[in-house]
């Protein structure tokens, strides 16, 4: 197990810069997810760590060892591919033992280790079968067993659950987490699924257009997104156009939509126009005219209501015609189309972002 450091790494395909001078440190034993839309550079980052792509600038380090120019087969990496990439002409035992055999481990030792690994991924007894005879989820487990067979310094996973259906995907998330924790392997995981990223990771790097927008824990990303892109990509969020016009201790005052707002810890933001971002579930519906003591308030009218079992999603039209999405409990008596209401939310449940 090793820590992984990318120092000022730029990745290019021809003239196209897929990765623009990124810095990234992954601690030993950490589960880090690269999250972003397709084309954001997350797969390129993974390929750079794997060694399939050499950076045009910058360095890749495992611990303090520079592996920038080391070929993939000498980096001691394990990798799970999106299409599993199991060898169709080999038995499961030969697939799992592939890395061990390439590294000169003896036959008997390989057999023992393969048995052990198949137990670990809860798939005992399939040694003599071929990949074509297994289901998608089973192949995924075999691919995972192969990747960790010769304990890798780093485990890479490239959208490993992309090809599975929802139920299986959730079950495999638990499995992956269990195995990663058991073996305490430094893991870099690539996905475009934010729920998957939040469920699995110690930290998440949200990527966009070849750069890391924010690197933080799931909680921090969700509650304190640093850019509009992150706020928008991770979960749902409302943006209200406001202008910062003053400060009160650590808090900022802002005006917009004919209303004054207060944002906790907003003092770092300069005066001027920006966006006030607030999550739909942080907004409370209250009857019109309710006094706003100790929290932000905004008047509006419910124009649309959607029931989805565990919650009700309301579209509220506020001053200036801006639509705001509110998520409230399924039994909220105010959640009826046409009702005039007042939205309320705590000072520390919203944040100010650049309008870029």
């Amino acid at each position: 197990m090793s820590s992984v450091t990318l120092a000022g790494v730029t990745g290019r395909y021809g003239d196209f810069t897929a990765l623009d001078a990124i810095d990234l440190e992954i601690a030993e034993g950490e589960f880090l997810t690269l999250l972003g839309p397709s084309g954001c550079g997350k797969t390129t980052t993974l390929r750079l760590v794997a060694g399939f792509l050499e950076p045009s600038r910058g360095r890749v380090l495992f611990d303090d060892e520079d592996v920038t120019h080391r070929p993939p087969n000498r980096r001691q990496i394990g990798m799970v591919f999106q299409d599993y990439a199991l060898f169709p002409h080999m038995t499961i035992a030969d697939n799992v033992g592939f890395g061990l055999r390439e590294r000169g481990v003896g036959k008997a030792a390989i057999r023992r280790r393969v048995d052990e690994l198949l137990d670990l991924v809860r798939l005992p007894g399939v040694q003599q079968r071929y990949p074509a005879q297994l289901s998608g989820g089973q192949r995924q487990r075999v691919a995972l067993a192969r990747a960790v067979a010769h304990p890798p310094r780093v485990l890479l996973m490239d959208e490993p659950l992309g090809a599975l259906d929802l139920k299986l995907r959730e079950a495999m998330q638990t499995e992956i987490q269990r195995i990663q924790r058991t073996l305490a392997i430094t893991t870099v995981y690539v996905t475009h699924d934010q729920t998957e990223a939040m469920n699995l990771s110690d930290r998440i790097a949200v990527m966009n257009q070849g750069r890391i927008e924010q690197l933080a824990t799931a909680r921090e990303l969700y509650l304190k997104p640093r850019t509009r892109f992150v706020a928008d990509f991770v979960g749902k969020i409302n943006f209200l156009p406001v202008t910062v016009d003053g400060y009160a201790g650590p808090d900022a005052h802002a005006v917009g939509l004919g209303t004054a707002f207060r944002v906790a810890d907003g003092a770092g933001r300069p005066r001027g126009p920006c966006l006030l971002a607030v999550r739909p579930e942080q907004l409370r519906l209250s009857p019109a005219g309710t006094p706003a003591d100790g929290c932000n308030a905004l008047d509006g009218r419910i124009v649309d209501v959607r029931y989805s079992g565990n919650l009700v999603r309301c579209e509220v039209e506020v001053a200036g015609g801006t639509p705001v999405i509110v998520e409230t409990g399924p039994d909220d008596p105010l959640a009826t189309a046409g009702t005039a209401i007042r939205l309320a939310w705590a000072y520390d449940r919203c944040t100010l972002l650049d309008d870029d």
Partner: protein, 282 residues
């Protein structure tokens, strides 16, 4: 009522079956009649021609030479075409298919023209010999005309684009990620080739090898033009038997033997490969 368009296939089916099967039956049939002189034939059904074939070292040598040359061409074709096919299959698809199309298109040029080119290149005062002598590799011009080597080169030129086409399509079906998986789990380049690419392209290699072998077994033009009457493969011998000796029965026997040998070798290879595949459970 639904129109039975399926029947439309009947005329072309009959036509091609007639051409394919009837001609073969015809020469297999005459192979059982003994030649009298001047193209006349005996009317008694007998095995005399086959006895002649298997007792005359001239015919047996010719069969051995034909099989050897064909096998050599198949193997050399694999060796020559494999790396090219691999590189083309792994190129950006637009480039790969364009280059492949160019290579395959060149096979539409009649072999006669190509052999003419070969004769010029390999000729005593041709560019190849001139270059070889200037570098000092050989002292006297080497001749390919009238030698087994020349025939092999001609047959290679004749068959290599078919080999390329078949290998390309097989290699293209091997996902890149399999190579990457092998590489990242510790395999050096040649081990990736040996343990993953080669076994997965084996069916294509067998298929391509067989097609080239079959083509070479029946190839007359290259052997006749480049062999200069000195490399007596069975197709050349058959031509002489028909046109020079007018022994139609014997020519039929020779043709039947070629057919039989080709069938046998193909059947064995296919059996072998399908047994390998079956073990894989795929």
């Amino acid at each position: 009522m639904k129109a039975r368009w399926g029947w439309l296939i009947l005329p072309p089916l009959l036509f091609s079956t007639g051409l394919l099967v009837a001609t073969q039956l015809l020469f297999v049939r005459i192979s059982f009649f003994r030649d009298l002189r001047l193209g006349r034939m005996d009317d008694r059904f007998q095995l005399a021609n086959y006895v002649a074939f298997f007792t005359d070292p001239f015919y047996l040598d010719s069969l051995r030479l034909t099989v050897e040359i064909s096998a050599l061409v198949a193997v050399l074709g694999l060796v020559v075409a494999y790396p090219v096919a691999y590189v083309l299959a792994r190129m950006p698809p637009r480039w790969g298919t364009t280059l492949l199309a160019l290579a395959v298109a060149s096979s539409f040029i009649t072999i006669v023209i190509k052999i003419l080119g070969l004769v010029i290149i390999f000729g005593g005062d041709g560019p190849l010999n001139a270059a070889l002598i200037r570098i000092g590799i050989v002292a006297r011009p080497i001749g390919l005309y009238g030698s087994v080597g020349g025939v092999v080169v001609g047959l290679l030129l004749y068959t290599v684009s078919f080999m390329l086409l078949i290998l390309f399509s097989v290699i293209q079906t091997i996902p890149r990620s399999l190579e990457q998986a092998a590489e990242i789990h510790g395999a050096a380049r040649w081990r990736v080739f040996w343990r993953v690419i080669l076994p997965l392209s084996l069916p294509g290699m067998v298929g391509g090898g067989l097609i080239v072998f079959n083509m070479a077994m029946g190839a007359f033009t290259s052997a006749a033009l480049l062999g200069g009457g000195k490399v007596l493969t069975l197709p050349v011998v058959i031509q002489q038997t028909v046109l020079v000796e007018t022994k139609y029965g014997m020519a039929g026997t020779l043709s039947a033997v070629v057919l039989l040998v080709v069938l046998l070798i193909n059947l064995l290879s296919v059996l072998l490969v399908s047994r390998l595949q079956a073990a894989r459970g795929a």
